[in-house]
């Protein structure tokens, strides 16, 4: 019963996604994106736009991303603690 409901939900959302894909052109507000695309080369001298964004415009983002990796490593080490780990 639960599996049937989940399958129904999946099929419905898949149909919705395919319908949206085939029918309309939905684009978010492009103000910031236009600015970045026009100016990233002379601001940061990086030819790859993604690198320009995650290393220059949004550098806090990548700093906190690496922080999240560090925190998750600490969590994994703590949860898989074993008694002969100390030696």
């Amino acid at each position: 019963m639960r599996k049937g409901l989940a399958m129904l939900f999946c099929i419905a959302s898949a149909a919705l996604v395919l319908y949206v894909y085939s029918d309309t052109k939905i684009v978010a507000d492009t103000f910031v994106a236009d600015y970045y695309i026009q100016n990233f080369l002379k601001d940061t001298y990086a030819r790859n736009g993604v690198a320009a964004i995650y290393l220059n415009y949004r550098v806090f983002d990548s700093i906190f991303e690496t922080l999240i990796l560090l925190v998750s490593v600490t969590a994994v080490i703590n949860f898989s603690w074993r008694r002969d780990d100390e030696k």
């Binding site: 001298y45 790859n48 690198a51 290393l55 550098v59 990548s62 700093i63 690496t66 998750s72 994994v76």
Partner: protein, 129 residues
């Protein structure tokens, strides 16, 4: 060698330097072609995973990787503070390139050590009977 086929072990060893060179290529060209720190670091971490196919025993010094990861995170915090928020070198092309390459390199090494630690902790310490 516990249950691992000799052919797989021997031929995987042949591939190691190629994978390492490819990972460094993805990291270093992150600002020109698609790629970058995270992707190259994941490729470098998969070298350690395929090392597990060759020698399935604890030959990895996890402790030194942990301290290396913390030091690399410190560098990742410090370098943008020194460079990007100083406002002096913002229009110099060479300094910008150096900044991009060094940040990609640091992020790549940090991601590599982090994913390697997670993998080896899971395999050796977690999930036993």
């Amino acid at each position: 060698m516990r249950n691992s086929s000799e052919i797989i072990a021997r031929m995987t060893g042949l591939l190691f330097p190629f994978i390492i060179m490819f990972g460094f290529y993805i990291i270093l060209n992150g600002h020109i072609t698609p790629g970058g720190g995270f992707q190259g670091g994941a490729v470098l971490a998969s070298v350690f995973i395929s090392r597990y196919l060759v020698y399935p025993d604890e030959g990895i010094r996890i402790k030194s990787l942990q301290s290396a990861e913390k030091a690399l995170f410190f560098c990742i915090v410090v370098i943008p503070v020194l460079f990007l928020f100083a406002n002096n070198y913002k229009s110099n092309e060479l300094w910008n390139q150096i900044y991009l390459i060094s940040m990609n390199m640091l992020i790549g090494l940090k991601v590599c050590s982090g994913l390697t630690i997670i993998f080896f902790r899971f395999v050796f310490y977690e999930g036993g009977k």
